[in-house]
Amino acid sequence: MATKKPEQFDRVDWSELSESRRFDLSINSIGMLVATLPLALLWLYDYQFVGEREATFQAIGLSRNLDPLDYFFVFTLFLFFFYLILPLYQNPRMTRYYWKEFRRNRPAVVSLGWLGIVFVGGLIGPLLISAPEQSILTGHQPPVFLSIDEANVANCVGEVVNGRCQGTWQHPLGTTRGGKDVFAGIVYGMTISMQIAFITTTIVAAIGITFGTVSAYAGGWVDEVMMRFVDIILSFPTFLMFLLILYIYGAGLGMFILVFSAFAWGGTARYVRSKSLSVSEEEFIKATRISGASTYRVVRKHVVPNVASSIITQLTLLIPGFLLAEAQLAFLGIGDSAVPSWGQLISAGRSDLAFAPWIVLSPGIVLFLTILAFNFIGDALLDALNPEAEAESA
């Protein structure tokens, strides 16, 4: 069949086009696969061939060890990159529009900058700064430009003026009782916070979106059972559960993330369900269905993206809760003291609050700012991603 102008819709010979569905992968999915494969291989190698006590990269002379949490963290970073950042780059028009809306909220822009610092600091910081180490002799060093009574420090790193030990750039934010550098502690805490933020969000989003859309589209008794299960999840005493697990298995950061995110997706699932139901009533869903698209395609291409953009806000507001929970547990002494989180740092300084307040204040302020930043950004995202507002601006 010789079609002269195949680029016109009424000249398409549909019988020519094979109906066989090739598995059509988007560039994002290909990228994700390419990136995840080495990671999986590395994990396999680590799991199979590297001894329990050996560091992952010992074979090439590096002492860096990766635990499962790190693998998962990197995986979520890949997800984040390929399904959030890359699409923004691929759709510059939409990105510009969102940015224009987002930019209106000044505090949110500042917050984004702050979170950028925390993110980059958490990612690169540990590579540049060595982990804070115990050094009893240099405990309670004051931050730079501040001073402390000489009686409180065993060995002043800086100058001693008028009987007061002056802070130095060696420890810009001072040290803890054990001599751990507070600045380094905060930087390492950034990694922990980012891990908490990314991993919990991924788990909550994955379970919440799946559960919510399946429930919405299945309907009937499936829907009923699934939603009652959500009720149970929502009314579950997560904290007590965590205490129980803590006594049985110990309380690593991984366990904390697992337990808390496993019981935090209830609200998200419920939200996703109601949002999916309302989105599926929209005319563009009908228009896609009338074109012959399968339910799977409708859900994946239209329902999930539209739902996702509104649950991003919800997830952003969920993160501060996790960070605070971690800090609270650490402060109460229930956390894993080996994890260099901000909470652990705060709890390390609580007894020295009278004469060395920086140990509590520095990580405290950082934690406070981070939580505030997430809240501001959540607010701004709500405005920027709100589809109703878009419709009105038309």
Binding site: V12, M94, F284, K286, S291, G292, A293, A394
Partner: protein
Amino acid sequence: MTEEPLLSVRDLKKHYPIRKGLLNRQVGAARAVDGISFDIAPGETLGLVGESGCGKSTAATSIVRLEEPTGGEVIFNGGGRSGATRNADGTHPNDVTRFDDRELKAFRRDAQMIFQDPSSSFDPRMSVGGAVAEMLQIHGMSDRHRRRAIVEDLLERVGLSPEDYDRYPHEFSGGQKQRIALARALVLNPELIVADEPVSALDVSIQAEILDLIADLQSEFDLSLLFISHDMSVIREICDRVAVMYLGEIVEIGPTDRVFADPQHPYTEALLSAIPTPDPRSTAEGIELTGTVPSPTNPPSGCRFHTRCHRVIQPDDVDLDQSSWRGLLNLRDALAADSVDVDQIRENFRTGTDTGATPDAVKGQIRREFDLEETISSDEMESLLDAALDEALGDDLDAAAATLSERVTTPCEERVPQRTSHEPGHESACHLHERDRSAPPNPADD
């Protein structure tokens, strides 16, 4: 069969079950569409008109199987399916309601739909070009560049520019979005387009543009159109034939100019006379429909329009003027439904006036509320009414209803009217025409 219709709808039904209780037992059904039949010839535009809640949109979605119809047949002969004959078991091979997934997907290429609300008809997170191209992708066109070329060409044909491909829905006005919706409906090169109120949400100056575009595209690509609207002037503009729906049924169908010039069914007549004409000099008093549209869950018996009709048939030996007859019927129904609150009326007289609640005053009030005169013109009916009102005042509404029901009856509520033909292709379902088919009533004399 010399001229095979593109689409033939036969006795199509869509009932929404109403469930109650713990076990979700079905207690009834809202009969949104209750047995409609019509044909659409290739290249023809059929208008489906009616007020909100008459089931016209449900009819549309059931025809294209966006919702599963409860019963009936939708035979679609387009897309190389022509010439098929019925199977031995009476089913039709082209019956859309029986299509399996593969057939249905092929059918999707041949029948498309346009929706009413431009603000929700596009995914806010997808470029409009992408939304149109997605249709092609779904049907197996995997060549991205070819998809883009087709869509860009099509965008130009509906009056936009190829550069609009990458823009997002929020960047377009309502009229432009409706153009893109047309492009999306056209891109698979269908033979039938179902347009569900495509211009209702637009300003009048934009409406004209879009209607023009639809007409142009229709003639260019030889499309058949099922055009759904509540707006009679839009229907008149674009449709070859029109079907008037009331409460899930088609009451009249015929060529547009004939239906507008010589409406046969009283409902069509009332609907037409209700359209405000943009002519300040016209003083014609329209026909005023009283009451409200009954619930589709429990539609009136017989002719569904009889509860509001201004031409309800009276028994042979009764000759009241229509407003009194209407009033009597309404009073009878209200008494039977227990919705006449005699105590309340008494109470109002006690507090609101000095005269007090004398029986005559109360009766007068009831008559006023049901638009009945002080004395109605037929003595027999007057005495019957008076007796019924006395019983009502004695708080025996059932007896009052029974009294009235003895004589206040109409064939309209007893039998479902059959479709009668007035001239080729112009049919209506009304007892008036069944009765005196030889002498059709002149709609001009009221």
